[in-house]
């Protein structure tokens, strides 16, 4: 038998081996405070400066400029940037028919004088008179009807998902998952409001992506909580402990998943918009990045502590202190419901506070894991052939 189950002496090592004993429930206030701060910042920002709605929501100015061999999309972009107008938010298209080609430029509404100057500049650049450049206002493409329908769909979605989670798990989990999801979307909207990024239909899609991702991540975590709940039901394990154990067990999975979700988005942000210069991707990727980090964070620090708090005295008869330190570690490592601490020293570490990760001094560390377990797994018999 070559099991190398020594409790790793480094935090990272313990993480890899699934030996962490972090008291997530004990740190629930961190999650709560961050969530409150995020919500306050977002709400204040929304009320003071609102969202910077883009062309598709608010309409703007539009020019139709006759295209020629010397004047195309690139030249139009040049004129805009010469006038200090961001080309990232502009929409420049070449419209061609058999008879003539036109470059259509749409930007967010400009002051009249600036618009007039841009018109003249376009005419200059295209080598035509100002009369040949048609200037008009353009309406939004995203009518209020679309928003209305999307919101209605969202409300229905939340209701049905709540029902589904309530049936598959329970209503408290539904509540906690929805709360975490709202937090994530609020965080992403907050980023857009605070930094005044332009909101486009793509941004709305990003928000929806975040919403889906957040729910997905929370469900995966809750599934483990529910599984452990059944496992520990016989010993009337306080719910906070169940949550702590489950969280430590899924911690590595959460981190791996976050890395593998965030790396492509980071790549989009750094490579796509940074190095390759596709500015259209930048703000979208940023929204996703914030939302996904928030999504993973909220599953761990908001959804589950909230769940534990909601269930703090459901069906539990024993009220004892939460498991911390090595007691928790033993449970995380799957010692089973009836496990006792094998080492007396490890069992008497109550003075150590509630921080498992701080518990580098924890006596269990460096010891073979077997010592933590009363019933170490029976060594496998030699395979009979």
């Amino acid at each position: 038998m070559t099991l190398d189950n020594t409790i790793s002496s480094s935090g990272l090592g313990r993480l890899f081996k699934g030996q962490t004993a972090i008291d997530f429930y004990g740190h629930r206030r961190i999650g709560l405070y961050t969530a409150v701060i995020i919500v306050i910042v977002t709400v204040v920002s929304l009320f003071t400066q609102g969202l910077n709605l883009g062309l598709d929501f608010e309409g703007g100015d539009a020019w139709d400029i006759p295209a020629s061999e010397t004047f195309g999309v690139a030249e139009a972009e040049q004129v805009l940037s010469d006038n200090g107008i961001s080309t990232a938010d502009a929409r420049i298209q070449l419209r061609s028919s058999e008879t003539s080609d036109v470059v259509t430029v749409q930007v967010e509404e400009l002051p009249r004088e600036q618009a007039a100057k841009v018109t003249a500049d376009f005419a200059d650049a295209a080598g035509v008179t100002s009369q040949d450049v048609s200037f008009s206002f353009t309406s939004s493409t995203w009518g209020s009807e679309i928003t209305k329908k999307a919101i209605r769909a969202l409300v229905v979605f939340i209701i049905i998902v709540s029902i589904f989670i309530s049936i598959r798990f329970e209503w408290r989990m539904a509540l906690a998952a929805i709360a975490a999801m709202v937090n994530d979307v609020v965080a992403a909207v907050g980023v857009y409001s605070v930094f005044q990024f332009t909101v486009t239909p793509a941004t709305v899609i990003a928000f929806l992506t975040i919403l889906g991702y957040s729910l997905y991540d929370t469900i995966v975590v809750f599934d483990r909580v529910e599984e452990n709940e059944g496992k520990f039901a016989a010993v009337r394990m306080p719910y906070q402990d169940v949550v702590n154990i489950s969280m430590n067990q899924v911690l590595m999975r959460s981190l791996m998943t976050s890395f593998s979700s965030i790396i492509p988005v980071l790549s989009l942000l750094i490579l796509g918009s940074g190095i390759m210069g596709a500015v259209a991707l930048q703000e979208f990727a940023l929204a996703l990045l914030v939302g996904m980090i928030s999504g993973v964070y909220s599953s761990i620090f908001i959804a589950t502590p909230l769940l534990a708090w909601l269930k703090r005295d459901v069906g539990r008869k024993t009220y004892r202190d939460r498991l911390v330190g090595d007691d928790l570690r033993a449970m995380v490592m799957g010692a089973g419901a009836r496990a006792r601490m094998a080492t007396e020293t490890a069992a008497s570490t109550d003075g150590e506070g509630d921080d498992g990760e701080r518990g580098l001094v924890s006596t269990g560390i460096g010891q073979p894991a077997d010592q933590l377990l009363t019933h170490p797994p029976r060594p496998r018999k030699k395979k009979r052939r």
Binding site: V73, F157, P264, L268
Partner: protein, 516 residues
């Protein structure tokens, strides 16, 4: 057991490969959105000057109508005095022009005569109208019997269609409805000669002479029209409270066969033509002088014809009529580099993820690589098929959405492998751990993916535009995730765990295990 695993593994790979080859061979690729590929732009202009408010209304109506017809994510906006409709995934300008040929104005006009206009001649009415003219109007609550006529009737059989007003159940008689009575009593201006009469085509190509419009589709309350199918297809529609007066005034005229709405042949009441963009859709006979609340139009409609009428009535009429001016092809708005950048960045991101996962999970990491390739092929094939059927375009947001979906897909492997690790730590062999772990993992993945699927279905059903497109691709990637997880990952990992290769390993998933 092993054989079934191999079947599943090889089967899924072959199917994905086959569909991929099919799609590549038939050049069936997903339609790209306006921002990535451009499309065709059609400029519509109102025939008479219209206020901005009217143009905005028309914009929304056109948008709805296009979506209803399955043209996904059109970009419709008012620019100056015109309406610009950008259609993704359309390459032909002619197609685009016919696609945005959205009919606008609904008019209610009395039928003066069939065939020619100038002098109404009641002696020999030409039976010019097709089957949809043999329609009757009755209160929605009453079901007139025997209104159907033979498919190709001789001219003299037409009168038998009419239902006398007194045969209508008393519950729906006009006298019940006091609000409309004053209007009915209003003297109708009777002009000896019908001025403003026009010869209009019907849907089957014949012509009908109709008097001037006495009302528009506005008299019906929007969204109330319903298909009725008890005795042949028909349409039931509610009158708006303010439209009832207009409708009843006209109905009264026709019922009494006043000169403005004469009886086209003896014994037949006058008929009201429902005209859509100068084409007579239906010319129902009026069977009672006034109507309370709702109107039922029944007759020899085909189902499609009745549906069309329902659509037009439900959508509401345009305030002014618009005409297509020109079609132009339009270039990608996001710039051609955007898609390329997104794809390159996505691929590099995927590569980095794969490197990370292989470094972490070692041999089993190879399963992830295979799984991601199968998943990507499946998503591509499904997207190609779906955009062939539904015309949903893949926009830049969609591409990035798929890149995000990589994360969710990888998650199912991570959940699975972390679970295997847990089991290994408890001293199980890999051969034993893998099937147990999959059982637990499948439960988790299934629950989480169903939530995503619910979201996708609801957003797809209830929303419009790009939100709908997003929902479609969310649903697609989620389904692919589930399929790959069950039909590829499961057999691959189980087979690998039973293989000699894994049995001999002392390090699985980067950790020491008990070797058998």
């Amino acid at each position: 057991m092993r054989r079934r695993l191999w079947t599943s593994l090889i089967g899924v790979v072959l199917i994905v490969l086959a569909t991929l080859v099919y799609n590549v061979a038939t050049d069936n690729t997903p339609i790209l959105g306006l921002d990535l590929q451009g499309g065709v732009s059609v400029i519509l202009a109102p025939v008479e000057p219209a206020s901005e408010q009217d143009l905005i209304i028309i914009r929304d109506l056109i948008r709805d109508e296009l979506e209803r017809r399955g043209i996904a994510e059109p970009d419709v906006r008012v620019q100056g005095q015109t309406i610009v409709v950008d259609l993704p995934g359309v390459r032909d300008q002619g197609d685009a022009l016919s696609a945005v040929d959205v009919s606008g104005v609904v008019e209610l006009r009395p039928v003066v005569n069939f065939s020619d206009c100038p002098a109404p001649d009641t002696s020999a009415p030409a039976l010019g109208l097709g089957e949809d003219t043999a329609t009757t109007v009755a209160p929605a609550t009453s079901e007139p019997a025997g209104f159907r006529r033979p498919q190709s009737p001789p001219a003299d059989s037409l009168p038998t269609d009419s239902i006398p007003a007194d045969s209508i159940p008393t519950g729906t008689t006009p006298t019940d409805t006091s609000p409309v009575d004053p209007v009915v009593n209003e003297p109708v201006p009777v002009t000896p000669t019908v001025t403003g009469a026009e010869l209009l085509p019907t849907r089957d190509g014949s012509v009908v002479c109709v008097g001037p419009a006495q009302g528009t589709g506005e008299v019906f309350s929007k969204g109330s029209a319903q298909l009725t199918g008890d005795q042949g297809w028909g349409v039931a529609v509610d009158l708006r409270s303010d439209g009832q007066a207009t409708w009843n005034a006209l109905a009264n005229e026709c019922y009494n066969a006043t000169p403005t709405c004469p009886s086209t042949q003896p014994g037949v009441r006058g008929q009201i033509a429902i005209v859509l963009d100068d084409v007579v859709q239906s010319a129902p006979q009026v069977n009672q002088p006034n109507f309370a609340g709702s109107v039922a139009i029944t007759g020899d409609f085909s189902k499609a014809e009745a549906e069309d009428l329902v659509n037009v009535l439900n959508r509401g009429a345009f305030p002014v009529q618009v005409e297509a001016q020109e079609a132009r092809t339009v270039s990608a708005s996001a710039g051609s580099d955007s898609l390329q950048a997104a794809i390159v960045a996505g691929l590099i991101g995927m590569l980095l993820v794969v490197v990370l996962l292989i470094a972490y999970y070692r041999w089993l990491g190879l399963v992830i690589v295979g799984g991601l390739i199968v998943w990507a092929g499946m998503v591509f094939s499904m997207a190609s098929f779906v955009s062939g059927w539904t015309n949903y375009a893949l926009s830049l947001a969609g591409v990035t959405g798929i890149i995000v979906a990589i994360g969710v897909t990888v998650d199912s492997y991570v959940v699975f492998f972390e679970r295997i690790k847990d089991e290994l730590r408890n001293g199980r062999t890999i051969k034993n751990a893998a099937p147990r772990s999959f059982k637990m993992t499948w439960r988790t993945i299934w629950s989480a993916d169903v939530v995503s699927l619910i979201g996708a279905i609801i957003l797809f059903m209830l929303s419009v535009g790009s939100v709908r497109g997003f929902a479609l691709y969310l649903g697609l990637t989620t389904i692919c995730d589930l399929l790959v997880c069950y039909f590829f990952t499961r057999p691959a990992v189980l087979l690998l765990s039973q293989s000699k290769l894994m049995q001999k390993q002392e390090h699985v998933l980067g950790m020491n295990v008990a070797t058998a």
